[in-house]
Symmetry: C2
Subunit: 98 residues, 2 copies
């Protein structure tokens, strides 16, 4: 059922901080949402391609450099839109639950 929620959750994560893939996987896991690498990387690439995310390389103390993703201005607007969609889904489910 969480289909389609992933994009929203990832953008929520990036609203206040930049993250690289493993950060995202771990933080989502703490919020009880499991994401696979094979799901995450293509999704990040797509959001980058669509101009909603940008990234910058940063060195790591142990291991290869990391891609830190950040929300672009377009991304913030898209996120606002997703917030609205989420509210609508909440309303829908609440109506149907009566």
């Amino acid at each position: 059922m969480r289909k389609g929620m992933l994009e929203y959750c990832i953008m929520l994560l990036l609203r206040h901080q930049s993250c690289y893939a493993n950060d995202i996987i771990q933080r989502l896991q703490e919020a009880e949402m499991i994401v696979m690498e094979g799901t995450l990387y293509p999704l990040l690439s797509r959001l980058k391609r669509d101009g909603l995310l940008g990234y910058e390389w940063r060195e790591s103390t142990q291991g290869p450099p990391r891609k830190y993703y950040v929300l672009t201005k377009d991304g913030q607007e898209a996120l606002d839109q997703l917030d609205a969609s989420w509210e609508e889904i909440l309303r829908t489910v609440n109506i149907l639950k009566n």
Copy 2:
């Protein structure tokens, strides 16, 4: 984003009343969720095939007879499970929203 929500919404609808396809489309529309016929019919067939829904034919005063769908016992249990999943998604989003 509402991908995957449809099954849940339809089963919520059927929790307290039986419906045929156009009922479902109209009621979901009232709850601000748009469903296409080409989406709904295969979904209903699948839920029937999986034993979560049953149906009975009923005559209509104007037009061909209608398939009224109802939740089976298995369907009720599956719906309870979906309720739990929904609660989990609510928790996840709330955590990520801070």
